[in-house]
């Protein structure tokens, strides 16, 4: 009886999850009347706007990842090595982006960094791009910090650092050849999660008026019928790929250690 109930719960849950998956796939394939075709995908892929916005978001994601790694790895390392007492404070700050809605943060950006402020980032295209990247970095901060911090805890940072220092290594060398390789799988997990978050992000990009993939999808959704479904399938595939890569990375690193 309980096993029956358990199966019933699992199956009805899975049905709920499968329905929209099937729905969007079917819809994306039915642009041509009467037969299934890949027309919607073809139209979307050929759209120069799609290519431009997708490339823009991809580059933003990569920049965010690089910036995030450069910020988070040294900070987490430093806290672990020199200031363990600051750990709760730093951890609390990294969790703040989960508490403060992204729309509020970007609202603050628009008012604080506009052309009449002391740091007029929104005054130029480069400045706004930079601001958007900082915004994305705050969105990714909780995940990135957690991943790296967990990675650092599993190695003996103090001993490794002392060994490197007694061999004459400087800080840069310690970070690049000692710490980073040791937390690489954690960094990669954080990186793929960042990619999944940034690639379709809507709110920040739309309010800062940047030509990103998220706002493009929203505009297309308001005007077209079949293409949005194709975009949804593509976006789902990207999310799936990112999560798959995270699992693969963590599995590979476990193998190495065992």
């Amino acid at each position: 009886m309980t096993r029956f109930a358990a199966w019933a719960a699992i199956i009805s849950g899975c049905l709920y999850f499968l329905m929209p998956m099937i729905g969007m796939t079917e819809f994306s394939l039915s642009m041509r009347r009467g037969v299934y075709s890949l027309d919607a995908y073809r139209v979307v892929m050929a759209d120069p706007q799609f290519q431009a916005t997708f490339a823009y978001s991809l580059i933003m994601a990569l920049l965010t990842i690089v910036f995030g790694v450069l910020l988070v790895v040294p900070t987490a390392y430093w806290v672990q090595l020199k200031m363990p007492r600051m750990r709760p404070v730093v951890e609390f700050v990294t969790l703040l982006p989960l508490v403060i809605p992204a729309i509020v943060v970007v609202f603050g950006y628009i008012r604080l960094y506009n052309t009449s402020g002391w740091l007029p980032l929104t005054g130029s295209v480069t400045g706004t791009n930079l601001l958007l990247m900082f915004g994305y970095a705050t969105l990714a901060l909780p995940y990135m910090y957690r991943a790296v911090d967990t990675g650092l805890r599993s190695i003996d940072v103090a001993t490794l650092t002392e060994a490197a220092q007694s061999l004459g290594a400087g800080w840069f060398r310690i970070m690049a050849t000692l710490i980073l390789p040791n937390v690489l799988s954690a960094v990669l997990s954080g990186a793929f999660l960042t990619l999944a978050i940034v690639i379709g992000e809507f709110t920040m990009a739309a309010l800062l008026d940047r030509p990103a993939f998220g706002p493009y999808m929203q505009i297309l959704g308001a005007n077209r019928a079949y293409e949005p479904a194709a975009l949804a399938v593509i976006a789902f595939a990207i999310t799936w790929a990112c999560m798959g890569l995270i699992q693969m990375v963590s599995r590979l690193s476990k193998h190495k250690r065992a």
């Binding site: 849950g13 709920y16 999850f17 929209p20 729905g23 729309i103 609202f107 008012r111 929203q218 699992q247």
Partner: protein, 288 residues
């Protein structure tokens, strides 16, 4: 001399935190504080509570209320369904071959939010969606006649469940696995029935986790902007959409009122998250 060295040493220690403090200070804390302070200021710059009092209009109150309702119901249903699925997976004697893919899928689905999620549901139960059309042509059931509308509160709730349920599964499964066999056996030996075990042992231990996750799901839904905008456009009056419109075009006609609206949102998600953290700390006491 020794003291001088100590000061230099402390200063050096802090230097390592400067980039982090600078970044979070400038791009996380300062913008938020600017909004919070703005909520208590007049356009001229003086202190006032008028902005907060001005939130008391039918439009704004109903926006908050609908938001709270959607977030609460989607969190509640997400918790119940997610718990049922996680419990079935861990305790229901279902083979591990189901568990691993389901956990992976939960990881994907909990991150599949925003614009594409809305598209998926429009393609399924929207006016021309797969299920809507199927029911109409094959069974003669017109969902619209039964009052179904995807662009509504319930449409939003059903869509949000797509990321709420997986998040619940991801967080509660470790807690369920943390229930020790010994507790179960001890209860059995003392003559407890299944129901008594659940009512007096398992649920009290799990309760902080469940309630805490519900608070997290609530905050998660409350801050969701993209899904709502892509699903309903500006037609549904909920707090994040109203704030979005306010930032874009000052629809409230008063910038400081916009700050107050944002401040209210921080207050609500902040309260939900504090509840989550407090309950999580309580839950961890048992699940070590």
């Amino acid at each position: 001399m020794a003291r001088h060295v100590a000061i230099v040493d402390t200063a050096q220690k802090w230097v390592g935190l400067v980039p982090f403090m600078l970044f979070t200070g400038l791009f996380l804390i300062a913008p938020t504080l600017f909004i919070v302070i703005g909520a208590f200021r007049t356009p001229a710059g003086g202190f006032t509570l008028q902005n907060i009092l001005d939130l008391n209009t039918p439009t704004i109150l109903s926006a908050y209320w609908v938001s709270i309702k959607v977030s609460f119901l989607s969190a509640l249903l997400g918790c119940l369904i997610g718990f049922a699925m996680a419990a079935a997976m861990t305790l229901g004697g279902i083979s591990r071959r189901v568990k691993s893919p389901l956990m992976t899928f939960s990881g994907v689905a909990s991150n599949f939010a925003g614009v594409p999620l809305a598209f998926a549901f429009i393609a399924t139960i929207g006016p021309a969606g797969l299920i809507t059309m199927y029911l109409r042509t094959e069974w003669g059931i017109n969902l619209r006649m039964y009052g179904w509308n995807l662009l509504s509160t319930w449409g939003l709730i059903i869509t949000y469940l797509f990321f709420q349920i997986p998040l619940m599964i991801l967080i509660i499964t470790p807690a369920l696995e943390g229930l020790k066999r010994e507790w179960r056996e001890a209860a059995d030996i003392l003559g407890a029935t299944r129901l008594q075990y659940w009512r007096m042992v398992a649920l009290p231990i799990l309760f902080p986790s469940i309630l805490g996750t519900m608070a997290l799901l609530f905050a998660n839904a409350f801050g969701a902007v993209a899904t709502a905008i892509a699903l309903t456009g500006p037609s549904l009056n909920i707090a994040p959409i109203l704030l979005y419109a306010q930032i874009r075009g000052d629809v409230l006609g008063n910038p400081n009122l916009g700050y107050a609206l944002a401040f209210g949102m921080i207050l609500i998600t902040g309260a939900a998250n504090t509840l989550y953290i407090v309950l999580r700390l309580r839950a961890e006491r048992w699940l070590k």
